[in-house]
């Protein structure tokens, strides 16, 4: 993480807190990031030196204006003015790091072999929220190597309920047996 991204993220976060729009700011900023991640050509356009800043602002305005609050819109324009648009995704990562503790939220990743349905996701988020005393935002990733069950990563904690883990424990126990 760069210091530049941290400073911009902190400025945006302070504004959101001041204007009491942290949730909206986070949702809208995340939508912007999703858009730039899915439309890589748009990001390339914003980073092209031969297009001047006012043209970039015009493109951005036409694409995003109706969906963004004025503070986020101004923030994106400042990034263009200062030639810092390349830091956009990094700034969003830092912004999320600021928003989550503020909202008493935590990100978690759950590995499964088959995707969780909505009911399972909600149930697991609720159980994890009770366990960590925080609202949990769950990201489900598929991983066949765990064989079955689930593995949850929350910060630096791991809750491993996978078949792979059970087999590994069995392997450790079997290897510790002393042969005569």
């Amino acid at each position: 993480m760069s210091l530049v991204a941290k400073r911009y993220a902190q400025a945006l976060f302070d504004t959101a807190v001041d204007k009491e729009i942290v949730d909206a700011m986070f949702d809208e900023f995340s939508s912007v990031i999703d858009l730039f991640k899915s439309e890589t050509g748009l990001m390339d356009l914003m980073l092209t030196p031969s297009i001047n800043t006012s043209e970039k602002k015009g493109i951005l305005d036409r694409v995003l204006r109706k969906s963004l609050n004025q503070y986020l819109n101004n923030f994106l324009n400042i990034l263009l003015d200062k030639n810092r648009f390349e830091f956009l995704i990094e700034i969003h990562d830092d912004f999320r790091q600021l928003v989550f503790p503020y909202k008493n939220m935590v990100e978690a990743t759950v590995l499964t072999v088959v995707p969780l349905d909505e009911a399972q996701r909600v149930a697991l988020e609720e159980k994890l929220a009770l366990r960590f005393n925080k609202k949990v935002i769950l990201d489900n990733k598929l991983d066949e190597s765990i064989l079955g069950g689930a593995v949850v990563y929350v910060g630096d904690q791991i809750i491993d309920g996978s078949i792979k883990n059970q087999l590994n424990q069995m392997k450790t126990q079997m290897n510790s047996l002393r042969l005569q």
Binding site: K127, G149, A150
Partner: protein, 167 residues
């Protein structure tokens, strides 16, 4: 002149001869006797001194001979002692070498036995580890093929239940 055969006595000639002899005797006695005597005495002293020196040298040589004979006897005695001590030391050293060799061979045997035991245990552990790895590999393959959607979901639900139980 009177002649009487081949030998004749002439009194004057005899007296003259006697006088000549006496004069010669007194001249010699007066002028040379003391010197001749001194030379003779000196020579006698020299001979005496040489005889005395030779006698002393003989005595000294005899003493040296006796001394060297004593030394040779001592050396022979020391030689005997040295040979005896060397034999004893050699015997002790031989015994020590034998004991050391015995101890070393015993230690080598113990070490070899320990190494054999270690290698045996290591080999058994490797075999065991391979068996465990193969067993778990087979188990993984079987589980991977045999688990269906329903079983996966059941395991996930079981996990969700257990996540809430333990803190």
């Amino acid at each position: 002149m009177e002649t009487t055969g081949l030998v004749s006595i002439d009194a004057r000639e005899m007296i003259a001869t006697l006088i000549n002899f006496l004069i010669f005797f007194f001249v010699v006695k007066h002028f040379f006797y003391a010197k001749i005597k001194a030379v003779m005495a000196k020579r006698q002293d020299g001979v005496d001194a040489e005889i005395k020196g030779a006698t002393e040298k003989n005595a000294s040589a005899a003493a040296l001979k006796a001394q060297y004979e004593g030394l040779i006897a001592d050396i022979k005695a020391q030689e005997r002692d040295i040979i005896r001590d060397a034999n004893a030391a050699g015997q002790a050293q031989r015994q020590e070498i034998l004991e050391k060799a015995h101890d070393e061979s015993k230690a080598m045997l113990v070490k070899a036995m320990a190494e054999i035991e270690f290698e045996k245990a290591k080999a058994m552990n490797e075999v065991k580890s391979n068996i465990v790895d193969l067993s778990l590999f087979a188990a993984e393959k079987i589980i991977h093929k045999s688990m269906d959607q329903k079983q996966h979901e059941a395991m996930i639900l079981d996990f969700i239940d257990k996540v809430g139980e333990a803190k």
